[in-house]
Amino acid sequence: MDREGIYWQRCDGGQNYSDLDAILVAAGDRLLENIHRHLDLATGLAQIIGDPPLEENASRNHDLADDSCAGEWPMGIRAPGSANHANSAESRYLAGPGKALYRYIASLINQQAYASAKVKELKGAIERAETRSRGRNDSHRGGDGPWPLRLLIAVAVATAAATVYVALEALAVGQSLASGFALLTALVGAGMACILADRRLNWLPVPKTARILEGFLVAVVTVLRYQSLRTQRGSLTAAGGATFSALISASTLAGIEIIVVQTRTFAMFLSTLQLSWTRWRAEVSIARLARIEAKVQSAADELEQHFIVFLLETDGIPLSAARAEARSARCLISIRGINATPAPAASPEFSAADRSAVVIAGKMSTVDQSSSELSTDRRRVFMKALAAATGTFAMVVTGLTVLHAQPSANLADAAEFGQSFAVRQRANEITTTQKIVMFPLSRYRLSLSAKVSLAKWVSSMANLSPSHITIKGYADTAKATAENQNLALMRATSVASFLVAHGVSASTLSVISPDPVATQPLRVVVVVADGSSP
């Protein structure tokens, strides 16, 4: 029973509602998770305070390589400046007449992201299926005949059994005995054929005795057929019938052997089916993605036109200015980030080991070297401006910080510069790093997002083997000192427990609450010292 459940019990005078509590709490958590998935907290907060949301992860190991838009305004909405942005045209439009359209575009962009991920996943699945299929093809010893031909083996066995039954019909004591013996004989013949085929597949010589034995089997069955038919029809008919049946028996045995040698295996057949199925799904997903992209463009066109009308009606600005504003709004809303090009994986050292930086190579006219600290939205606008201008640049970004930006002769040079810079940077920054985990007021339990963020951080720190990790807990501002001390320690302890549960050695951890009056409220700071640094 978690804390909320106990709380319920206490409030109800000890009545036993524990199962009901569990159901209600679980349902409430589910509902909260669904809401979390759909809520656009960053945009909502931007509409009120005009600044990006608080970066929960202030670590320099911010995982930009996985998602270069992490922590930014969704859909690239430009946060208004420090002035009362609630009065800006975009804000008024998006909060008013453009809300439905914006939601529609937001929904489409979410769908687009999902479809894009699906396509990526299916491409991976195709690669895996192709590899598997190729491996099976490589190890296959026989021919390339389709597997369904092997179904003819059953027909051949049935035919052989039928001819043997004819041979035994008149000679055997009863029909069941004749049928059983006929089936057994057919199976023995098919088995012999399969054994011989297997030897051929393994490039082994087929012994002459095996062929003689096969011929002997056919001969015995032929003689029996002759005897059986002579009893019923006379010598001439019997001789003809027996000869014909002998041909059938020999053909079935030879046919089974050839089919086994010349056709693919069932596993190969399944691999081919799976590959075809995956390819078909990928084609469907690609088509869906294309449809969604077309819808996004269409909705963006509509938004642009609608915003122009809105600006003309409400602000009374000139048409050309309205067009420019609308164009800008359209780009920012409908395009998820600029066409940033992550550095190509030319350097395995960079791509595999350095997950803290992303290199953006594009075109620009000038670079503001002084803008080393950019808020996420401004960074987006900055990069977009760079991308839209002429010239080539290289820029290394970690978290919210533009570490370095400089013009380059071409994109290849920019990418190369970015890689080497990032590798150098990484060597410097791993000495000491820190992670900040935020908590709601009066709470010490880690939220789901904090857990996810911490887990990512722990995995990114896996190869550092830190000598010491200090966990500093802070509490809230408006509380008594004793409460704060307790809360700070509880917060730090919950982070420590999480780290230990995720493989961090408990002996390297120390938990402190340095400032009970909370100069840095609502958070836990995890400081990692690498190597010999305490």
């Binding site: 409030c11 509602y17 209600l24 679980a26 809401i35 909502g44 509409q47 009120i48 949301p53 008013g96």
Partner: protein, 198 residues
């Protein structure tokens, strides 16, 4: 939905309400507001959904309440309670005055307003059970769910503490009855969860 909002207690716009002393507010900053926003908005939306709102109405009402909180940040002493009162009121207002012509003008093909999260909500049997409670019980229940004390609930809903307790007991009894009935009728989703037996 209408009964969920029609009788939502109106909150007097008294600037003195919940005013904190300067000492209490020392250190309060935009960052803290942002943290309160991020922590409280999902819960506020859940509260409004439990009262009977659909997702988008709840989102809008919560956003308006949080906007007002930002404007009155230095005067609001108990943001959680204050937000729930104001959000309930905003939800009621939205239902009465949702006549924005621009909003209607902007409706596009395919924009039904019924989203996937609303579909999820409709399938949530526990939420359905909560929404079948009478308004006051629903409000008391939703507030208790957000870990408000009886005293706080009585202040928010302007009823006595005894009435809060009584409504809570009745709400839980009704919920239990509803979920057991639902279990007996064999609906999916809740069956497994009730295997322990209520």
């Amino acid at each position: 939905m209408s009964d969920a909002t029609d009788s939502v207690p109106d909150i007097p716009d008294d600037p003195q309400e919940g005013r904190a002393s300067a000492c209490d507010l020392a250190g309060v900053s935009t960052v803290e507001y942002a943290m309160v926003y991020e922590a409280e908005k999902p819960r506020l939306v859940r509260y409004l959904i439990q009262l009977g709102a659909n997702y988008h109405d709840a989102d809008d009402a919560a956003q308006r309440a949080l906007t007002q909180l930002y404007e009155k940040w230095t005067t609001v002493r108990h943001p959680k309670s204050w937000l729930r009162k104001v959000a309930s009121r905003e939800l009621g207002r939205a239902n009465i005055t949702n006549e924005n012509p621009l909003e209607r003008h902007d409706q596009l093909t395919g924009l039904s307003g019924h989203t996937d999260i609303d579909s999820l909500l409709e399938e949530d049997i526990v939420l359905l059970a909560i929404r079948q409670l009478p308004l006051l019980q629903r409000q008391v229940f939703a507030l208790r769910f957000d870990q408000f004390e009886t005293k706080e609930i009585s202040a928010i809903l302007q009823i006595t503490e005894a009435a809060v307790r009584q409504n809570l007991v009745r709400a839980r009894a009704r919920l239990k009855e509803f979920l057991q009935r639902d279990h007996r009728t064999g609906q999916d989703g809740i069956t497994l969860e009730l295997e322990g037996g209520i």
